[in-house]
Amino acid sequence: MVSLINEAFKKARNANRPALLTYTVAGDNTKKKSLDILKSISAHADICELGFPHNTPIADGGQIQTSAYRAIKNGIKINDVFAIAKAFKLSKKTTPIILMGYYNMIYQYNENKFLKKCKNSKIDGLIVVDLPYPENKSFSKKCKKKSINFVQLVSPTTSDIRLKRIIRDSHDMIYYISMLSTTGGKLKVSSKKILENYFKIKNQKKSKNVVIGFGITEKTIKSLKKADGLVVGSAICKEISRSIKKRQNAVTNVTNVVKRLKNKIK
C-alpha cells in the first residue's frame, strides 16, 4: 500500500523544497472552526498534524497549551477528533494527516480500539509525545500492521546508539526536535547547528524522511529549508489565539500565515 506520507515528501522533493507540516489542535476553538482551518491550510501544507488535546501536556509550551485548554473547554472529545479527521480526509483524500498527542488518551481509549478508529478515519500517522523508544516498540508494531506510520522522535540529547536503534525501528518519517525546549520555544540554537545534527540523522538512512520541528516561525523557516520537512505548530496556534482576541477570521489569518511560510521555502 502506498504511504501518503512518503508521497507527500516525494512531491515536495520533486518541487525542490522541503515539505511543510502544520500542527493545529482539534477543536480549537470549535470543532467546525478547526475543520475549516485544516481544510483551508491544506491548500499550502503538505502534511497536517492534528493534536488531540490533553490537559496535562508536559512537553508543550504556552501557545499549544492555550489551544489545547481552549479546545477542551469547548468540549472536544476524542471521538470528535476522529470525526474532524474523517471529514477532512473526505475532502482532501491525498493530504496525509497525523494525529499527535499524549499516551494517556490512547491508553484510556484502548490501544487497539484507538488504532481501529484511526484506520476508519483514514489517519496516516501518529506521534505520541510521551511514549519514547524502546517503550513504544509494541505500539509502533501495532501501528505498522495497520499501515499507520508511527513517527519516532529524536532530540539533540539522543545518544548515537539510541539514534541507530530508533532509525532502524522507524517507519517513513522521523521527527527531529531542534533544541532542548518545549514546543514553541525561541530558537536558541543556530540553524547551522540544527542542520548539522539533522544530517547526522539523515545520512544514516537516506530513505527516511526526516523533519525538523520546535521553534520554527516565519522568521526562521527559510534557514532550515535543506531538511526533508519542517513543522510549524506554535506559530499557528498563536495566530489562532490572536485572531480570536481581535475578533478576526481565524481561518483567513491562519491560512495567510501558512501561505507565507510556504512561500519562504519555495
Binding site: N55, I58, A59, N104, Q108, D130, E135, L180
Partner: protein
C-alpha cells in the same frame, strides 16, 4: 502480582521500570531520555559508594537532625481508650517535614553530577522550602515551581523559600495547584536539562525519581525500627503504621523497613485526602477507586475522566492535593500489603484540634489526615495494639488556613 521479600520495594520493578508489570515506567519526551538515563546511572553507582553513603549519613545526622523522636501520645491514648497511640515526630527534622531527606539527596546528586542549577515542584511548599534549604547549603541555584493557588495558601513556606534565595515560579495553568506545578517543572527541565537537575518532590514521576525519593525517605523507617526495638525490646506483635498519602513519599519512607513483615503483625494504612465533605472532588485515587492512567511520566491510579483528562482535585491540604499517587503505593494496594482509606477536610481539621489539645504536638494538615484515621480506629482496638502515626509535617505553614477555619492563631 507479588511482593518479593528481602529486596527493597523501590527495586522490585522490571527492566522498563514497572512495578507489578503495570505501575510506574518512564513516559517521558525523548529529550528527557538522556538526562534520566544519566541520573539512573549516577544513582546506581552512588548508592553503592561507601563514601557517598557516609556523606549522606553525615548530613542526615548533622544537618537534618536524625533520628527524629518516637513518642507515646499518653493523653490522647487514655482519652480515646483502646490502642496505644504513638507518633514518629518526623516534623522535628530540619525545616519541619520529611521532604528534607529527598531534597538533601537530590542536592548531593546534583553536585555529584556537576550541575549548578536545581529545580523542583512543590504543593504545600515543604518540598520547595527544603530544596531551597539544601540548595543554599550546597551552593546551588534553585527555582521552585508552585501553583498560584498554593502560593496564596502556604505563604509561610514561600517566605522561607525566598529567604533561602530560591526563585518561586508561579504556575497559573489548570487548577493552579501541585499537578500544574509538576507539569511546569518538567517542561522547564525539558528545556534546560543540559545544565539543570530536577528534583521531583515525592515518590512520583518517571521511575528513577520514585526510586531516589523512596531511598531517601527510607531513613524514617530505619530509625523507627531501631526505636521500636529499644522501646519494646523487640518488634511488638500488633502494630499499625498510619501515614497520609499524597504522592506517597513519607508513607513509603515510614513503611519501607516493615513491608516484609506479616500484615497481621504490622498493618500499613495509608490515608488519602477525601476533600471537603460535601464536595465531589477529592485527591484519593487509591481509596476511591480511580482507574490506571499515565500522569507525569508514570502509570498509576489517577483521578481522571473517561477520556484520560486529569481531574481537578480538592483538599484543604496542599501537600495531598494531587490527582495521582506513587506507583509503589498502587503496587502495595494491588498486592493487598497496604490498606488505603481517606479522611475528609473536616475530619483532618478535627484531628488537628484534638491532637493539639491533648499533646505537645502540632501536626500539619497532611499528617492530620493520618491522625484522623488513628482517632477513628483506636477505641475499637486492644490495649496491646500499637498505633504509630507519622507526624511528617509541622503546622506552622498552615497558620492562615487554621485561623480561617478554626478562628485560632
Amino acid at each position: 502480582m507479588k511482593l518479593k521479600k528481602g529486596i527493597p520495594l523501590i527495586d522490585q520493578h522490571d527492566q522498563f521500570g514497572f512495578w507489578g508489570g503495570k505501575f510506574g515506567g518512564s513516559f517521558i519526551p525523548e529529550t528527557l531520555k538522556k538526562p534520566v538515563e544519566d541520573l539512573t546511572e549516577e544513582f546506581k553507582k552512588l548508592r553503592k559508594d561507601k563514601k557517598f553513603i557516609k556523606k549522606r549519613d553525615h548530613y542526615f545526622k548533622n544537618y537534618i537532625g536524625s533520628p527524629t523522636s518516637f513518642v507515646k501520645l499518653e493523653n490522647l491514648s487514655s482519652y480515646l481508650g483502646g490502642a496505644q497511640i504513638w507518633a514518629k515526630v518526623v516534623s522535628e527534622a530540619n525545616g519541619g517535614a520529611h521532604k528534607i531527606y529527598n531534597a538533601t539527596v537530590h542536592a548531593l546528586l546534583c553536585k555529584a553530577m556537576g550541575k549548578k542549577y536545581i529545580v523542583g515542584d512543590t504543593g504545600a511548599g515543604y518540598a520547595g522550602k527544603m530544596l531551597s534549604m539544601a540548595a543554599k547549603k550546597f551552593g546551588l541555584k534553585c527555582k521552585i515551581f508552585m501553583g498560584a493557588k498554593d502560593i496564596k495558601r502556604q505563604k509561610p513556606n514561600c517566605d522561607a523559600m525566598k529567604k533561602n534565595g530560591a526563585e518561586i515560579v508561579p504556575v497559573y495553568s489548570g487548577s493552579q495547584t501541585l499537578v500544574d506545578a509538576v507539569s511546569e517543572c518538567m517542561r522547564y527541565w525539558v528545556s534546560n536539562c543540559d545544565n539543570t537537575h530536577m528534583c521531583v518532590g515525592s515518590t512520583v514521576g518517571p521511575n528513577i525519581f520514585v526510586k531516589i525519593c523512596g531511598w531517601s525517605t527510607a531513613q524514617i523507617s530505619r530509625e523507627l525500627k531501631a526505636q521500636l526495638k529499644s522501646e519494646f525490646k523487640k518488634i511488638p506483635k500488633k502494630i499499625k503504621l498510619i501515614n497520609c498519602v499524597g504522592g506517597g513519599s513519607s508513607a513509603y519512607g515510614f513503611w519501607s523497613e516493615f513491608i516484609d513483615f506479616n500484615k497481621k503483625q504490622i498493618e500499613l494504612i495509608g490515608v488519602e485526602a477525601g476533600g471537603p465533605k460535601k464536595s465531589k472532588l477529592h485527591a484519593a485515587p487509591l481509596s476511591r477507586n480511580a482507574k490506571i492512567g499515565v500522569l507525569h511520566g508514570a502509570a498509576s491510579y489517577v483521578c481522571q475522566d473517561n477520556e484520560g483528562q486529569i481531574n481537578e482535585t480538592e483538599s484543604i491540604s496542599a501537600g495531598l492535593d494531587y490527582p495521582g499517587v506513587s506507583p509503589i503505593h498502587c503496587f502495595l494496594k494491588d498486592t493487598k500489603r497496604a490498606r488505603y482509606t481517606y479522611a475528609t477536610d473536616e475530619e483532618a481539621l478535627n484531628a488537628h484540634v484534638m491532637i493539639t489539645k491533648f499533646e505537645n504536638l502540632n501536626p500539619s494538615l497532611e499528617p492530620s489526615h493520618a491522625f484522623a484515621e488513628a482517632i477513628k480506629i483506636a477505641p475499637k482496638l486492644s490495649k496491646d495494639t500499637i498505633i504509630i502515626v507519622n507526624s511528617c509535617g509541622d503546622a506552622k505553614k498552615d497558620k492562615d488556613i487554621l485561623r480561617e477555619r478554626l478562628g485560632k492563631n
